[in-house]
Amino acid sequence: MKNNIIDFNGEFDVIPTGKKYAPRIKSVGPKEEKYTNSLKKSIIKSGLCDGMTISFHHHFRNGDYILNDVLNIIASLGIKNLTLAPSSLAAVHEPLIRHIENGVVTEILTSGLRGVLASKISSGLLKKPVIIRSHGGRARAIEAGDIKIDVAFLGTPSADAYGNANSVKGNSTCGSLGYARVDAEYAEHVIIITDCLIDYPNYPASISQKNVDQVVKVNAIGDPDKISTGATRFTKNPKELLMAKNVALIIQKTKYFKDGFSFQTGSGGASLAVTRFLREAMIEKSIKASFVLGGITKPMVEMYEEGLIKTLFDVQSFDKIAAESIQKNEEHFEIDASLYANPHNKGNIVNKLDVVILSALEIDTNFNVNVITGSNGEIMGASGGHSDTAACAKLTVVVAPLFRGRIPTVVKNVHNVITPGSSIDILVTERGIAINPLREDLIELFKDSSFNITSIQTLEKIARDYCGERKPVKFTDQTVGIIEYRDGTVIDLIKAVEKNV
């Protein structure tokens, strides 16, 4: 069981030992069939019983039906105290509250939580603390056997009756199935759930028949509009555009911005807008990117099609354009979560990342970043790839407004640490830019530049001047969440928020 002691000791301190975990060997002969049209039958056939671990992926975002449908059936079968290990959870999974109250689910391992489920867990709904892992951290934990998945329920836009599944066909194409592929390789029992059955063979196969035990046809795997969301639109917010422009200007001044460089950006507001300004600079200085990694969006596909990016490594497609581009564009590759960011394999792709642009809910004066708990101390976000990319990228830029409404982003100390300060190089806000003192080279580079460079302590003070003194959030000593760093150590604990009665 996870112990509650914080033993994180630096981004690359842990050297892994032991062997890779592997599921039992199992053979499926030529006469056996994998197909059934009843989800219930497939669950019974999987041999799922009390105390087991089940997993799902979050490529269907807030449009997912699979997790809720499967858990309703499991509850009806009377199966109890399961460990739920999805790659992440969305607000649509609120019905989980009922299953937790009824003891169907007694432990959750995830990248993040949202909505009412998150707030309830923050006040102690789950007896065992929820374990928060980054995308790379989850892949590591599965391959190391820290997570032993008994049954993986993997929804896919299309599949053939023998288990070859992908997101090329079907009416709700979600693009890359990067997170699902890890589960398919390491779960004892893999069930593919689709609403679009294709004649054999359904190639190319993101998930291969050789790992699949059962295939189920349901009438809907999710809400197509929410799964393949419309093209990501650039922000029009002048503050976000200002910050994005500054981030792009800063990147251009560093030695990392050279032909063949690689980068990754977040999908939200300012961080996404950076791609637009980087594009202008790349054209102007005829610089091409060797690869762009992570969540792929329409703007990145366009830059690829303009010849500005050689390769797109896609662990998750953020919009319909990116989803369709995987099969259309030759060098747009779907990658699995382990290849993306697992620190304990023979070389993940974040190791080769030059520049990453990330956001932050909170960042403190030691540059520690919190993307998991809100200003009221309640869980409301997800670790995602934040700590993975920040640890490995040669230049990590966090871009965030100094305060949102009256909630300061730069604070004395963050409620929780997802990414240690040592991974963060530069913070860009609309009222000043702070460089991590550990990066003397960058401090030297920007010494007499026209950028508004200031100390992060000054930024914290400015934020406090605007917003006023905050009443500290009171926590109980009950641990409701354990934040496991990508190397398996514990970097922080999430305490329950004291409910003022």
């Binding site: 200003s375 009221n376 949102r404 409404g405 009256r406 909630i407 605007y466 917003c467 006023g468 003194e469 905050r470 009443k471 959030v473």
Partner: protein, 98 residues
């Protein structure tokens, strides 16, 4: 200053605060506050509103404040506007608003 009618000032847009002032049947100022940052600034926000009321010699106001993350200077300005509208006073008491 005497409260003649119920008045409203400010908007419900983000970073603003909507202040409603009506006559309080008790001879004291009471404040009902709703705010997304109540857990951080409830005391601070109420203090600013109360201070602004007292500076205008208001003693029987029933204040309803619906905050959307407004900073102090916005809270002060909107409370002042609500006061002048509720008391139907045209001229500004310059010392009081300072």
């Amino acid at each position: 200053m005497k409260i003649n009618k119920e008045a409203i000032a400010g908007t419900l847009e983000s970073s603003d605060i909507q202040i409603t002032i009506s006559k309080n049947h008790l001879i004291k100022n009471t404040i009902y506050l709703e705010s997304p940052v109540k857990h951080l600034y409830e005391v601070a926000i109420k203090k600013v509103i109360m201070n602004t009321l007292e500076k205008h010699q208001i003693t029987n106001a029933n204040v309803k404040a619906i905050d959307q993350g407004a900073l102090d200077c916005t809270i002060i300005a909107r409370t002042q506007s609500a006061i002048y509208r509720a008391t139907e006073k045209k001229e500004i008491n310059w010392e009081a608003i300072d």
